[in-house]
Each structure stands twice: as structure tokens, then as C-alpha cells.
């Protein structure tokens, strides 16, 4: 195994059984090297790296004062604001575990997350001082209100008090990230300091953010795609520019005045930028769009290239259980359409058959991952952990993603979907992804989602665009085998989305039940 080239590891002496604190590994260099450079900006103002560091140290001291112990969880539900970065680094510096929760998480999930994480402290906005809607914060857990924190950002004269954050035990968690996935209750992915620092550096090596970049982050910071933007900016000394969901109608103007050069995208944000750029075509400074979480479809990538000339597109693929798996070099989709790239440096991607044996190139199998970025499993859930994080006799852990795909001869990955997205119909094997891709190839179709056969129901197609459902089915029949053409296609004004920007298939199924009587 190698560490990513040209991102030097922080060389510090530390006792055995300990690792660098991720706050030092990620933030310290920019604080020391460019203290007065802008670190994080939101619609209310900006902090330099020195100010961010001071605010983080102040929060760490307050955790001490509140009696929070190292290893305790600090649950943070504040949205995309500057303070998020200070709370993150402050929590790490103190040794507590940062638990980001999105403002979109409903009370049903929130209740189970709080019971599972058992936080020692909650940080919430003033509007949620008492709780969220009907749900009151549990008694006995102190709540700090974001608007009343007033973190001290005045950098101390001379060396900052407390010096470096210092090493932490190797099993100390930096993050607990809850993913809802397809299960009923969210599971917490346990992310130790060393894994987080490795993943951030490995992604940084591939994406190469620059010190003069301004990274417009409108994806939620509670989502690991958003959260790692904080880390990638710090590694590069770049500026993190934050937009909250309320500001999305102004996003393009905000990108322009803020000088955004890099924009991480989920499909809904990409659609939005394309529409906003159609009404205001003045140029922007955007040089790079990245994408993960849910894939940008080819018509959307083409529209982005047209509306943002000069911007390149870097598709990526990952899962919170190891953060990121593959990254395609910017504009690599032109040469390898549909690929999500090759494995991060120092990590391995395998394609396995049902017995866990590697399959030859071009064959579809389960995507599995090995490397120093594989996280420590699910929080307090040994069974799901054993199922997905499989440890061999020699101690090697293989993360089974539950996703399916194939590798080309050069090790570029092509994602095909979840296990459930692969199915047989009329004797033919197929995947939802391949049918959706063929539908998107039809002139006038902007979005497509296929519900796979389930509980006696045949597959059903949903499409969005300026065409009729007959056009879609005829167009599809020209492109794929008959067995892959559904009998039913519903046209929608837009696909429903989850808070993280993925197609909400549960809502599509409900729509089928309610609007079309279950068919």
C-alpha cells in the first residue's frame, strides 16, 4: 500500500496505538501557511484560516467546560453555515465525535438517531432550541444554540494556546455519519481519525483543488459529500463558499459574486444551475464540477458543458462506509462514457461473484473495496457490520458495498446499481441503470427512473422531458431488446428526490399506488 503521492503525511512523533488527530492532519498546514487567506464564507461573512482555527479552539475549550469527554458524541444540526467548520475541527481537537445531522431529517429518523448516538451535547439553531416540531430534545442532554455561540475568532498573539491537537487513540472516531440507505432506521457509519484523514488526502490528490479555488458547497454539509468539502478546502488552502437550501434560487448569482471555481453537484443542483444559467448567461469562473451521491445523466452533463464553457466534469463514486471509491479524471467521461473512474491511490476495487471470488474484467459482480479508507463499521451494530465489513484470516477487511458493476481492462469502474436493481425479465438479465441510460439517449428526455419488478408488479418506467410516453417506449424499443422495454411509462414534471439529491424510489412507488392503483 502506498500513501497518495505529493500529499505529504504529517510527520509527528506519537505513541504507539495512536494516530494523528484529523484536525492537525487536515487543518494545521493552512492555518500555519496561509493564516489570513479566506477559509470559509457564508451569506453572513467570512473567516480566515486563523479565525477558523481560533473558533475551533474556542469550541474545543467549551466542550471541556461543559464536561463533554473524549469519545462522547456531539450532535450538530445547523445547516450550511460557517460555524459548522469550527464545530467540526473543535470537536476533533477536543477528542469528541462529530455527528452531523441534516436540517431535512424528519423527526421519525431523528428520534432513532438520537437514541442510537446518545449525544452528550446537541448544537441546534435558535428555531430548534427546544426540539424539532413535535419532537422535544431528550431531557438531560445540554443544547447549545448556534446563534448564541459567538465563538471567539480573534487569533491569540504568538503561538495559539494549546498547540497542536495531539494524537488520538487509533480507534477514536472522528465522525459518526448516519445514512438512511434502504433500511428502516438510519445506521451510523463509524469513521476513525486516520481513515478520514487518509480518505480526504486521497481525494485531494485526484481532484487537485488549488489555493485560489473557491468551492461552492450547496450540497448539505451533513452529507459526507458536503462535509469532505470542508476538509478538501483546508488541505488546499482554498475557500469554502457555503449556500443553504433557502438560497438556491440565488445560487448562480451567489456563485458569480463569490467567484466560485469548483462546484460539487448532485443532479438536482446541476439541473438548477442549468436553468438559472439559461435565464442569466453571463460568464462564471467555474472550472470544475464534481459529482457523486447520484450520477449526473449524460443530457445533464452535456447541458452543463454548454452553459458553463470552460468547466470540466469529474464523475466519482463512493459510499459513506469508505467515503470515496473511485474518481474519474475531469472530462474522462468523453473518452469513457458511463465510467465513475479508477480506485483511489493506495486502495483496491474488486468485482466479486456470489462466493466472494474476483471475476474477470468486463463481468458484472458486487463491488468490493480494500484499503486504509475503509471505516470501522456501523456504530453499535455488530451484525450489519459483519455482513458488510468482512475480515479475512490475515486481518484484511473487505468492504462489500452491495452495489454491482464491472471493471474495464484498465481498472475503470462502471456502476450498474444495487443488487436489487439487477433482475431477470422474460429470461433476460438486465439492470435499471442500463435501461435508464437507454431512455436518456432519447431526444427530449431529461430524466429517467425505472422501478424494478417487485411483489408481482412488472417494471415501470418514469421519464421527464418534452416527449410523450409513447415516444419514450418507441425510442427505447429501437435501442434495446424487447424484454428490456417496459409496458408502462409515466411522464412526470420532475423526479422526486431525497434530501441528498437521489431519486426517491419510495415516493415513486407511493405515486404508483395512489395515482395509478398500484400498477
Amino acid at each position: 500500500m502506498t500513501t497518495p503521492a505529493d500529499v505529504p503525511a504529517f510527520e509527528t512523533f506519537r505513541p504507539s496505538g495512536t494516530v494523528d488527530n484529523a484536525a492537525d492532519a487536515i487543518l494545521a498546514r493552512s492555518v500555519a501557511g496561509s493564516p489570513s487567506a479566506p477559509a470559509v464564507r457564508d451569506c453572513d461573512g467570512v473567516w480566515t484560516y486563523a479565525e477558523l482555527d481560533a473558533a475551533a479552539r474556542d469550541f474545543a475549550a467549551r466542550l471541556d467546560a461543559l464536561g463533554v469527554r473524549p469519545g462522547d458524541r456531539v450532535l450538530v444540526r445547523v445547516g450550511n453555515v460557517r460555524e459548522f467548520a469550527a464545530l467540526l475541527y473543535g470537536t476533533w481537537r477536543h477528542g469528541a465525535v462529530f455527528v452531523p445531522i441534516g436540517p431535512a431529517m424528519g423527526t421519525f429518523h431523528l428520534r432513532s438517531v438520537i437514541a442510537d448516538a446518545e449525544p452528550a451535547l446537541i448544537v441546534a439553531t435558535a428555531a430548534e432550541r427546544e426540539g424539532v416540531g413535535e419532537f422535544a430534545w431528550p431531557e438531560g442532554i445540554p443544547v447549545q444554540v448556534l446563534e448564541e455561540l459567538r465563538l471567539a475568532t480573534e487569533p491569540a498573539a504568538g503561538a495559539p494556546p494549546g498547540g497542536p491537537a495531539g494524537p488520538v487513540p487509533a480507534d477514536r472516531l472522528a465522525l459518526l455519519i448516519y445514512t438512511s440507505g434502504s433500511t428502516a432506521t438510519p445506521k451510523g457509519v463509524a469513521c476513525p481519525h486516520a481513515q478520514v484523514a487518509f480518505a480526504a488526502r486521497a481525494v485531494a490528490e485526484r481532484l487537485r483543488y488549488r489555493a485560489d479555488d473557491v468551492v461552492l458547497t450547496a450540497v448539505p454539509l451533513s452529507f459526507d459529500y458536503g462535509l469532505y468539502q470542508v476538509l478538501l478546502c483546508a488541505l488546499a488552502g482554498a475557500e469554502l463558499l457555503l449556500s443553504d437550501a433557502d438560497g438556491h434560487a440565488r445560487l448562480l448569482g451567489y456563485a458569480r459574486t463569490g467567484g466560485a471555481t469548483v462546484v460539487p453537484l448532485v443532479p438536482s443542483l446541476g439541473e438548477m444551475l442549468v436553468r438559472l444559467a439559461a435565464r442569466d448567461p453571463r460568464p462564471t469562473a467555474v472550472r470544475l464540477f464534481t459529482n457523486t451521491g447520484a450520477a449526473l445523466n449524460p443530457p445533464l452533463i452535456a447541458a452543463l458543458r454548454e452553459r458553463f464553457p470552460g468547466a470540466r466534469v469529474a464523475p466519482m463514486y463512493g459510499t459513506t462506509e469508505c467515503k470515496r471509491i473511485t474518481i474519474l479524471e475531469p472530462d474522462g467521461d468523453l473518452e469513457r462514457p458511463g465510467s465513475v473512474g479508477s480506485a483511489l491511490s493506495g486502495t483496491e476495487v474488486l468485482i466479486l461473484d456470489g462466493d466472494g471470488r474476483p471475476v474477470p474484467a468486463l463481468d458484472v459482480g458486487e463491488i468490493a473495496v480494500r484499503g486504509p479508507h475503509v471505516m470501522a463499521g456501523y456504530w453499535r451494530a455488530p451484525e450489519p457490520t459483519a455482513q458488510r465489513f468482512r475480515t479475512a484470516a490475515d486481518g484484511t477487511v473487505t468492504l462489500h458495498t452491495g452495489d454491482y458493476g464491472w471493471l474495464d481492462a484498465d481498472g475503470h469502474l462502471y456502476f450498474q446499481g444495487r443488487r436489487d436493481d439487477l433482475f431477470k425479465r422474460r429470461g433476460t438479465r438486465m439492470s435499471a441503470v442500463e435501461i435508464e441510460a437507454a431512455v436518456l439517449d432519447i431526444e427530449g428526455v431529461r430524466e429517467a427512473a425505472l422501478l424494478v419488478p417487485e411483489d408481482g408488479r412488472d417494471m415501470v418506467l418514469f421519464a421527464v422531458g418534452e416527449v410523450t410516453h409513447e415516444d419514450v417506449l418507441l425510442g427505447l424499443a429501437e435501442r434495446v431488446e424487447q424484454a428490456k422495454v417496459p409496458d408502462l411509462c409515466h411522464m412526470l414534471p420532475a423526479l422526486p428526490l431525497t434530501p441528498n439529491g437521489k431519486t426517491d424510489r419510495k415516493l415513486l412507488k407511493e405515486y404508483l399506488k395512489e395515482a395509478v392503483g398500484g400498477r
Binding site: A245, A249, R250, R275, A278, L497
Partner: protein, 90 residues
Amino acid sequence: MTDRCWDASYEKLLRGALPRLAEKETVSPDTSLKSVGLDSLAMVEVLALVENEYGITIPDEELSAGVFDTPGTLWTLVSALREQRTPGVA
């Protein structure tokens, strides 16, 4: 405050962009647009539609969260901008 004084094309445009509004028999000025499915993507769609329909440009500084609360709040802004554009024709 917000009586229903808008024209038919405004209502048609909202119904077209928001399927859950289309199911309702009448569009009330006080209906919460969020409750009928206005997410940020739909917001941008409605924005582009009203700008096209009425030949106005809504400046970014007017795009505060409150504008898209209800059909009434959005119509108030649209009518104000139309008046600015064609003085005397309210």
C-alpha cells in the same frame, strides 16, 4: 392582504409546475407552496416560467425565502415588477 387577483395564466403556470397543486380544485393565495411540493428545483422552474410569461426579470436580491411561500406572496412581487415595467398599466 393577498386577494386572488391574478390572471388565469398565472394559475395555469403554477399548476403545471406543481402536480400536487394541480390536483386541488382551487388555488388559494395562502396555500403553502412547500406543502404542495415546491422544492428548490421547482422554485427555479417557477421563477423562469413567471419571468417568461410576464416579461420580467426578478433580481437576485428579491429572491428571498419568503417570496415563494404562497401563490399570493409570489404574485405580489410579480405584479410589483410588472408595474415597474409598464407604468400606468396595473
